[in-house]
């Protein structure tokens, strides 16, 4: 991510220090992770110490300080999905792609996250890939869903 893009995001928020979280969020959603250089640029432009930025970047779960895969898999482990078999679903996903929640596969194809309730409790258990919901999914069907994501 180059400085021009980062500057554009910062300018959009009028370069105010209170917009730090929103700026980081936009960098994260464009770039999928927060590279060190990007954080340094933000620190310089917003006049916020790098320690405080790292404090925030390591606190919120949405931020990642390591590269993320091309596709983000999110297994809902909210209470309703839990009673409807989310644990078994998560196990299947982990077995299939060989990583645990919070990790990224070495070929950068997938990142896996477990997540709080996404508000589709009628449709659980579900996995969300790049924002697309795959609902009422049985462990046997996971492979079929994931093969479409390269």
């Amino acid at each position: 991510m180059d400085n021009a893009r980062i500057d554009r995001i910062i300018d959009k928020h009028q370069g105010e220090a209170s917009s730090l979280i929103q700026v980081l969020l936009e960098i994260q959603s464009e770039n999928h992770w927060l590279p060190k250089e990007a954080l340094e640029r933000v620190s310089e432009k917003l006049q916020v110490p790098l320690t405080r930025i790292r404090h925030i970047a390591t606190f919120y779960k949405t931020f990642s300080l390591i590269p993320k895969g091309r596709h983000e898999i999110h297994v809902c482990t909210g209470s309703s999905c839990h009673v409807r078999g989310a644990t078994r679903l998560l196990d299947t996903v982990q077995d299939l792609i060989g990583i645990r929640p919070g990790e990224t596969s070495s070929d950068l194809r997938f990142s896996l996250e477990t997540g709080n309730c996404l508000g589709c409790c009628a449709l659980g258990p579900e996995i969300v890939v790049d924002g697309k919901h795959h609902s009422k999914i049985a462990p046997d069907n996971v492979e079929d869903v994931l093969k479409d994501y390269d």
């Binding site: 220090a17 209170s18 917009s19 730090l20 979280i21 929103q22 969020l25 916020v48 405080r52 404090h55 925030i56 606190f59 919120y60 779960k61 949405t62 931020f63 909210g78 209470s79 309703s80 839990h82 009673v83 709080n116 309730c117 996404l118 508000g119 589709c120 409790c121 009628a122 449709l123 579900e126 924002g131 919901h133 609902s135």
Partner: protein, 553 residues
Amino acid sequence: MPRINSATELEELRKGILSKRDPNKPCIAICAGTGCLALGNDRVISAFEEEVKKQTLEAKVDIRATGCHGFCEKGPNIIIYPEEICYIEVTPEDVPEIVSQTVLGKEVIDRLIYTDPNTGEKAAHQSEIPFYKNQMRHLIGNNSKIDPKSIDEYLALGGYSALSKSLFEMSPEQVLEEIKKANLRGRGGGGFPAGLKWETARNAPGEEKYVIVNGHEGEPGAFMDRALFTGNPHSVLEGLIIGAYAIGSHQGFIYTRHDSPQLRNNIAVALTQAEEYGLLGENILGSGFNFNVEVHLDIGIFVSGESSALMRSIEGKNPEPRPKYIRTSVSGIWEKPSNLNNVETWANVPQIINRGSEWYTSIGTERSKGTKLISLSGNIVNTGVVEVPFGTTLREIVYDIGGGIPNGKKLKAVHFGGPMGGSIPESLLDTPLDFDELAKLGAPIGAGGMFVLDEDTNMVDVTRFFLNFLTNESCGKCVPCREGIRQMLKIVTNISEGKGREGDIELLEEISEVAGAASLCALGKTASDPLLSTLRYFRDEYEANIKEKKCRA
């Protein structure tokens, strides 16, 4: 869009919108809530658009993508106006038939209407389906009647008339008085009277004051605020502006989820439209009152829904709560008086102003007034968003509205309030929905997530699930919460795996007492609530696990 400069101009605009409408013109309202969207209703919407185009009916039929209708279990849901015919589980293949037979031919298609699984009775209209029939949908009911992206449709339903009434016919004190008389209690979990909170913020020293919509909704199993805010954003915004007027605030904040693109988009559109009409910004409706709103997004941590943590987050800092010797309504964002209310609380405000506190207090129980949105989920036939008056019994919600427990199973417990709530056994199912009644039973309403558990559920496992959630979500600032929950989780995990020891239950009770007394914020203070309530009603399950050294899960 023309700017509206007075109450009269607002009414003229409304009349103009209404006069252009033909109440008999068919309208297909398709639910575009999160649930139906996940079920592929985007394909249903495009199928309708194509079909209407194909039959060149664009001028004769309206298509409206709406917010959540509530009946998520049977999605994608559609309603055909003016007859209010409800079709469930609609697929793109059904669309041509619906257009020609129902929209044009006024015939009901039998296969697409709701059939009661118990009685076999069919119901074609929303008002006949038990799920809807037994509700009182003052807040969520408008979702199916408006396009959330159109302020005109909100205006057509009488929108912003409460704001105009407040600004031109009432003083800020009178608005405050009305909310106090209505005894509107905070819907976010605490049940604290909103009027008193407003008064504190109003009377707090300092010129600059803030009002905040808490739309974080991080509790697993709670999705009603999202449904309301996405489906009818102007109702929340109107409440917020009225509140700001009463409190004397000129800056508002909306704090909501980053992971619901639809919600974010609808809020952004609503703010732009309100600004263009002069319902937001400088000199609102020509009244001289100024008010602006800024949107902030949560980024995936549960504790940032806690009021003082949320305010830190708006300041651009880490969402760590602070002790509340001084209330946030006196010293909140940047140490300024900051009045925070939940989405549903704000949405109640316009109807109280419009219809009066007397009307409002006629609904509900003695100390809990109005209606409550409930997210019904778990082992229940009809998962969805439900709105009922306070005083409705839990039995009515589970059986009359929720349709009971699937697969012929028996009900074991009802859990309220998510990870910081409690469970009530089947024997107490005739308890009315009421802030105080439920709190007394150890299962405070919380934000309104109602989680139904069948006879196969192991309560130790449910407790372990919630403790595990909270261990991950604790901000770590204070020791009683950070360490207390971790230790409780360890012990409960041991018990659930059959490794429990004598004395574990007593130890759990001791830790939970300390965590409850010494934690900084509600997360730590109430983290042990699920544990305590299951120990209260299902102690035998813990004891059996310990004595028999086995895992019953």
